[in-house]
């Protein structure tokens, strides 16, 4: 065909499917284009043949067979519906309005999420905390925890009354104590008032000038040690901070003092505001 008029428009015009304005444009074109008029005639002829398909009908016997099949399957409807559809139907019929059904579903989802979150918070994974914080090279040797400065800082000697044993650092000398506890242990202590197995506390002593610590000690709650706590000193004889430290055995001064003066399970919670307020 040489005429470039839109065949798509002609196809729609054949059954009056065009909006009025476009229909008028097509009608005007057809008046002056015998080629398109012929095309439309042939298309309309095919359309008439196509419409004859609607006269074909399904035999009654087939319909009856189909109907029996459906009815036999829904005879035991409560079982065949499935629990999700039954719940949906109960809600739907109960409220009869979609908005209420959606609101109910939203409430259920939010409640379930909150419940799951509360359960998660109430039962922190203490095993995971042990794995992340207290890592032992062997039975008695603790590897210096990395990143302890990102833990919870529970107190500083500049504002609290640290026992005499730690007196190498004090406000007058310009040194300071900083005590950190790992996050999982802190969460557990906040909830229960007890330190979980694997809890790690770090005592870091910083000098006035440098940013590096001049002394580093740790206590780990571990039932393998006397009194349930192991004490470790990472400070070397030459003043450097070691990567590993052995447990201070027997009645070390750390253990004795903590046993006698620690208010809560060998820990000086009475001096650390964060631990006092946590419980």
């Amino acid at each position: 065909m040489s005429c470039v008029f839109s065949r798509e428009l002609l196809a729609l015009h054949a059954e009056n499917d065009l909006p009025e304005s476009e229909g008028r444009i097509v009608a005007r074109h057809l008046l002056e284009c015998p080629e398109c008029e012929g095309f439309l005639d042939r298309l309309s002829q095919r359309q008439s043949q196509l419409k004859l398909l609607r006269l074909e009908a399904i035999p009654q016997s087939t319909l009856t067979r189909m109907r029996r099949g459906v009815l036999s399957q829904i005879e035991n409807s409560p079982q065949s519906l499935g629990w999700s559809v039954r719940i949906e139907r109960t809600l739907w019929l109960g409220f009869r309005r979609h908005a209420f059904v959606l609101s109910s579903l939203a409430v259920v989802v939010v409640s379930a999420t909150l419940f799951a979150q509360m359960r998660q918070t109430a039962r922190p994974d203490t095993t995971a905390a042990t794995k992340q914080t207290a890592v032992f090279a062997d039975a008695n040797t603790l590897i210096r925890p990395a990143g302890y400065r990102d833990w919870i800082s529970v107190g500083s000697s500049m504002r609290s009354n640290i026992p005499d044993a730690h007196s190498l650092a004090n406000a007058s000398s310009g040194n300071s104590h900083n005590i950190y506890i790992d996050r999982a242990a802190y969460r557990m202590f906040s909830l229960t008032g007890k330190f979980p197995e694997g809890a790690v506390l770090i005592l870091e002593t910083s000098g006035a000038a440098g940013k590096q610590p001049i002394a580093l000690q740790a206590s780990v709650k571990d039932s393998r040690f006397d009194g349930g706590w192991g004490f470790f000193n990472f400070t070397g004889a030459d003043g450097t901070i070691k990567d590993k430290a052995e447990s201070l055995g027997g009645k070390s001064s750390c253990r004795t003092c903590h046993e006698e003066r620690g208010k809560s399970d060998h820990v000086f919670t009475q001096f650390h505001p964060a631990l006092k307020t946590a419980t």
Partner: protein
């Protein structure tokens, strides 16, 4: 020659077409007696009277089966599709808005089931829409609109041409040209914009004409059609 069965109920062609056209009503209209009657039946079914569901099936089975037949082109598939449609209707009957006619909802479900079935067939091809319905679809009758060999060939060609259309085009053509719904009604059933539906219809008609023209000029037909 294979005949075509017109309705056993004795309804004439104009009744059928009129019935077809009146099946879909646009939303917003005053509740019709038919809608009110169906609402009554639906309430009974939802209250546990499953036997009342037979009334809904018997009322709409022919229409559902016809649409499925025209979309799928295979009698067995149409039977399976119709069965699945009514099972879904039964399962989700509570979702039906009782103030609106059931037909658009039913037809939307029919189209969706046919699409699902068509996709499964693509994965596991066994029968094809290209096999035009024959014995199972029709019976001998002097009312056959395709009386004569040429007409029967014409009918076969139309079925094959329908099979060559894309799924979207075929559904649009079946609903608009074979079922006789308006483009607005087709758009409402397919939940597509009217302009999209018009585009599918125009492409479908042009393709259909082109395919049938090509078949008619084939050596077997000698260009007679």
């Amino acid at each position: 020659m294979k005949g075509i069965e017109i309705m056993e109920s004795g309804a004439n062609n104009s009744d059928i077409i009129q019935g077809t056209l009146s099946m879909v009503r646009m939303p917003g209209a005053v509740i019709s007696p038919e809608t009110a009657e169906i609402a009554q039946i639906v309430r009974l079914v939802l209250a546990g009277d499953t036997s009342s569901f037979e009334y809904i099936i018997s009322r709409y089975e022919r229409r559902v089966m016809n649409i499925a037949m025209r979309i799928l082109g295979c009698h067995d598939d149409a039977h399976d599709a119709a069965q699945e449609v009514f099972l879904r209707v039964f399962r989700y009957l509570h979702r039906l808005d009782l103030e609106k006619p059931i037909e658009p909802w039913l037809m939307r479900m029919t189209v969706n089931v046919c699409r699902d079935l068509g996709r499964k067939k693509l994965q596991h091809p066994s029968t094809s829409l290209e096999n035009a319905p024959s014995e199972s679809m029709t019976t001998s009758s002097t009312d056959n609109p395709y009386v004569g060999l040429a007409e029967e060939q014409q009918r076969q060609m139309l079925w094959k041409a329908l099979a060559c259309l894309s799924e979207n085009e075929r559904v649009a053509i079946v609903l608009r040209d074979v079922e006789g719904l308006s483009t607005a009604e087709v758009a409402a059933i397919l939940e597509s914009p009217e302009v999209t539906v018009r585009s599918r219809i125009s492409r479908g008609r042009l393709k259909l004409k082109e395919i049938v023209d090509r078949m008619s000029k084939g050596p077997m037909n000698g260009g007679a059609l």
